[in-house]
């Protein structure tokens, strides 16, 4: 059965810290891995990763996929209180999406 597992489940850090969120998957017919940020309701798209070893960056956020290890990490540097959210990882396999349960990040001022 396809599954996506995220760790840690929750994380509390202080502003300025760097965090690394993990996503591992066991999915047949993998096509891409996506990261979303969910603050209140609608998850907002962050990154889509299709190729192993190529880092995607957007400001203080970056992500990389390791197809050999069937995993991805999302890094957030110099965290801010506005980064507090649930971060969701999803794997797409031919238009079907499998989501992890998410990592709840809380950044304290």
């Amino acid at each position: 059965e396809d599954k996506v597992v995220q760790s840690p489940l929750s994380l509390v850090v202080h502003e300025g810290d760097t965090v690394t969120l993990n996503c591992s998957y066991e999915v047949t017919n993998f096509r891409s891995l996506l990261w979303y940020k969910q603050e209140k309701k609608a998850p907002t798209f962050l990154f889509m990763l299709t190729s192993s070893g190529i880092e995607k960056k957007s400001g203080r956020l970056s992500s990389i996929l390791d197809k050999k290890e069937l995993s991805s990490i999302l890094n957030i540097t110099a965290t801010q209180t506005g980064d507090s959210a649930i971060y969701l990882c999803a794997v797409e396999k031919t238009y079907k999406y499998i989501f992890g349960t998410g990592t709840r990040l809380k950044v304290l001022a």
């Binding site: 309701k41 609608a42 998850p43 299709t50 797409e92 079907k96």
Partner: protein
């Protein structure tokens, strides 16, 4: 460009009633996905529509159903509501099978409360 829209924002029903939730995708998107997000749980896949057809459904009972209209908007119907149906229902749209790599964009959700 308008994003995915959903209505209503909140819906309160009693057990046994029916609920109808609506979703309008981003212009140009032909695929619509429905998810249930219960408190403390991840997104559970409900239904996928593309080009007016149901392409896939998750492990939910038949009282969860829906449809996609010719303009690609979609409706989710939940019959014989149960207390455990209380959740945030998220709709997402994507380019679907007409595109290459696919990315979903989510609407703000409908919070369904069953009393």
């Amino acid at each position: 460009e308008a994003g995915v829209t959903q209505s209503p924002t909140h819906l309160i029903k009693t057990r046994g009633q029916q609920a109808t939730l609506r979703c309008s995708p981003i212009s140009g998107h032909t695929s619509v996905y429905w998810y249930q997000q219960a408190l403390g749980l991840g997104l559970q896949f409900l239904l996928w529509y593309d080009e007016g057809e149901e392409r896939n459904r998750g492990n939910f009972p038949p009282r969860f159903s829906g449809r996609q209209f010719p303009n690609y908007s979609s409706e989710l119907n939940v019959n014989a509501l149960e207390l455990e149906d209380s959740a945030l229902y998220l709709c997402a749209s994507s380019l679907g099978t007409s595109g290459g790599y696919d990315t979903q964009y989510f609407g703000p959700g409908t919070r369904l409360t069953v009393l």
